[in-house]
Each structure stands twice: as structure tokens, then as C-alpha cells.
């Protein structure tokens, strides 16, 4: 695939994934915490167009699940057509607009589990969408914070030079030298234990962002050092422009290229950090899903070998990371 094609595909894929995540509450048929206790580790529901008697239905349908015993759950007799724009559980679109209409679903009491269920009978598709919101949002917010801090320190270090430069660079080195995961775990370990779900999530994001500001700071400092010596900056200073003005008007645009590249890379790294924390049990708490804690159940041998649909969160994650890396690569090309 040619580079430009790759880039286009990557951008489209990213936009698609983010759009889907944004509309997560609408697309998911169920609430992410509802447990259907008879349907533990049920495989994905099959959508049929041809019924048992061989008739073709234009309207796709599913069979209701019949529960005989924990080991024996099969498709029953009753046909339930797939319905669209159905009234269901309440959700908040993009966290702001409350809504109750879901993209698709089936009539009660049947259930449609397009990606199967987990140990507690929770619909994996709904959890995937909600988990995506959490993991991606954590990545974006942490990257924003990291870049923000990096910009601040980088500009101060690059512009004011000498003492400020030394101080900031040594501090940055401390943060760069420590293995990021160890540092993350150490900081998380000293935080209070039981915060509510939102505050817990924000704290996790804050911690991730705080740990990784050093690399963008170094790169920005480099840019600022060269930008500082440009003619127009010297001229502006000569005219008595305040530091703030120079930062805003002249230096900041110079750093944009680096900032953008760093941002795309950092989003993936921080998303992965959040997933790692949740995987280890130190991220968001139950019942809030994250791609990390959805994958954590695969550590058990019987889940790994028997319940293949639990791997589902890995694929959108891979897709998103590939998308961001490709974008980052093409952004880096001109500067190299």
C-alpha cells in the first residue's frame, strides 16, 4: 500500500473508531454493568436469515437462548427478529446527552450478545464500547496533560536557558530514567483506595499524564532553543515584546509539528498504560470496563482456551494503535 493510501486509510479508521466510541451508548444494546446470571460465558449470538425449516427471512433474527444447566445452554425454538432503533436502558451520549434509544436489539426476554458474555453474563459488545470510551479517553486526556506540562517546562527551559534549563532538564532526566510502569505503579500505590468511579478514573489519568511529561519537554526545549535564535524573535524582543507574546506568536507555532507527532504517539502509549493498569487490577474499578480489565480474565487458563470471544477488545485496540502510529509516521516524515 502506498504511503499516502496508508495514511488515508489510517485516518479514516481512526475517525470511524472514535465516532463509534463517541456513540457508544447508542450503539450498545445493553448497559455495561447489567449481569445476566444464567448466561455466563455464552458464545456470540448467531444471526440467522434462514430458519430451521429452510425458509429465508429478509428480516434477520436470532433464537432465544434456552437455559438447561450451567453446562448446557442452547438455542431454543422461539424466533426473535432483530429490531432497530429500539427503546432500552438509559445512557449518556458522549457523557452529556441522556438518551434511551439504542441502534439495535431484540424484544424481551431474549438477549442478543454479539460478542458473547463474560463470567457474570455481561454483554461484551456493550462493555467493549464503554471500555473503548474509557481507554481512549484516558489516553487522550493524559496525552493532553502530558503535552501541556511538557510545553510549559520545555518553553521555560529553552527560552530562559542556563539555570532554568539545567533544573528542568535534570528533573526531566529523573522522570525519563525511571521505568514508566514502575513509576506508574508506585504513584498509584500511594493513593487513597476507595474513590468513586469518576474520581478514580480522573486520578488514574492524572497519574499517567504526570509520569510521562519528560520526553515531550526535551523535544520542545530543543525546538525552542533553535527558534529562540531566529531573526524575527530577536527583532520582536528588540521591539519590547513581552515574553508571553513571543511564546504565543512566534515560538508556539514552531513547536506545533513536534507537538502533533508527540501527541499521536503519546495517545497510544497512554492508552496502553491505562490498559496495563486495569489489566493488573489497579486501574478503573469494577464494574466499569476498560479494554485492560476485559482482557484480564484471559489470564485464567480455562478462559484462555475455551472462551475465544474474550479476546475481542484486543482488535479495536490494535487497529487504533496502528492508526495513530501511521499518522505519527507521516507527520514525522517531513522533519526527518
Amino acid at each position: 500500500m502506498r504511503k499516502s493510501n496508508q495514511l488515508r486509510v489510517a485516518v479514516y479508521a481512526l475517525i470511524a473508531v472514535h465516532a463509534v466510541m463517541l456513540l457508544g451508548g447508542f450503539i450498545a444494546p445493553y448497559d455495561y454493568a447489567v449481569q445476566n446470571r444464567e448466561y455466563s460465558f455464552v458464545p456470540p449470538t448467531r444471526i440467522h436469515v434462514i430458519d430451521r425449516l429452510g425458509h429465508f427471512h429478509i428480516h434477520p433474527f436470532i433464537y432465544e437462548l434456552r437455559y438447561d444447566s450451567p453446562e448446557d445452554i442452547e438455542e431454543g425454538e422461539q424466533v426473535y427478529p432483530l429490531r432497530f432503533l429500539i427503546w432500552g436502558a438509559e445512557y449518556k451520549l458522549a457523557g452529556l446527552l441522556p438518551g434511551r434509544i439504542h441502534l439495535f436489539g431484540v424484544d424481551e426476554p431474549a438477549r442478543i450478545f454479539l460478542l458473547g458474555t463474560d463470567q457474570y453474563g455481561r454483554d461484551q459488545l456493550s462493555r467493549l464500547l464503554r471500555g473503548g470510551q474509557i481507554s481512549l479517553l484516558a489516553g487522550l486526556m493524559a496525552a493532553a496533560m502530558s503535552i501541556g506540562i511538557g510545553l510549559l517546562f520545555g518553553m521555560v527551559a529553552g527560552y530562559y536557558g542556563r539555570l532554568a534549563d539545567e533544573a528542568v532538564m535534570r528533573l526531566a532526566e529523573v522522570f525519563m530514567v525511571l521505568p514508566w510502569l514502575y513509576l506508574l505503579l508506585a504513584v498509584k500505590g500511594f493513593l487513597p483506595l476507595n474513590l468513586g468511579p469518576t474520581r478514580g478514573f480522573l486520578l488514574v489519568t492524572l497519574v499517567i499524564g504526570l509520569v510521562g511529561w519528560a520526553r515531550p519537554a526535551r523535544l520542545i526545549r530543543g525546538i525552542v532553543l533553535t527558534a529562540k535564535e531566529r531573526n524575527y524573535v530577536i527583532a520582536a524582543r528588540g521591539f519590547g515584546a513581552s515574553d508571553l507574546y513571543i511564546f504565543r506568536r512566534h515560538i508556539l507555532p514552531q513547536t506545533m509539528a513536534v507537538v502533533l507527532t508527540q501527541a499521536t504517539l503519546l495517545v497510544t502509549t497512554y492508552s496502553l498504560s491505562e490498559m496495563t493498569l486495569s489489566f493488573l487490577g489497579l486501574g478503573v474499578n469494577e464494574p466499569v470496563p476498560s479494554w485492560g480489565n476485559m482482557l484480564a480474565s484471559l489470564q485464567q487458563y480455562h478462559v484462555l482456551t475455551s472462551y475465544w470471544w474474550m479476546f475481542a477488545p484486543a482488535f479495536p485496540a490494535i487497529l487504533v494503535f496502528w492508526g495513530y502510529y501511521t499518522v505519527a509516521n507521516s507527520l514525522q516524515e517531513p522533519t526527518q
Binding site: L178, L181, Y182
Partner: protein, 89 residues
Amino acid sequence: MRYALPAAANPLISLFGFSLAGLLSASMLVEVVIGWPGVGPLLLEAILARDVYVVISAVMLSSVLVIFGNLVADLLLGATDPRIRTGVS
């Protein structure tokens, strides 16, 4: 190969020094998943147990390791690249 390797060696060695920190983090995840009794699971358990001293020691140990790795990388760089050794700009 004879000519490519010396040219590639310089950034390779610097990268080695820098990547040690990342390797430690990555190895921690692998250790937890496969059950290898390394420093990674130790740190994880210490955090769940709120054992402050173990956390401090593990983080300190790993940073010393990374600093040492970077030192070795720098020395190796000096050893392999005569320009750096003699300080030619």
C-alpha cells in the same frame, strides 16, 4: 554488512541505553502474565499490600539498573566510535 554495521552501531548503542527502561516495564507485564517470580510481580504485590518499603526498593533498584545501562552504553559508544573518544566535533 561490513560497512553497514559500523555506521549503524552509533545510534544502535544509544538506543540500547535508552530502551532499558522500557524493557524493564515490558518485562514486568510478561512476568505477571506467565507467572515468572521476578521483580515485576513483587512490585505488584507490594502495591496491593501497601508495602511502602518494597515499592521504594523496587523502583530504586530499577532506576539504578537503567542508569547503569546508560553508563555502559555511553562507554561502549566511546569505545566503538573514535570520534566521540577523541572529542572531534
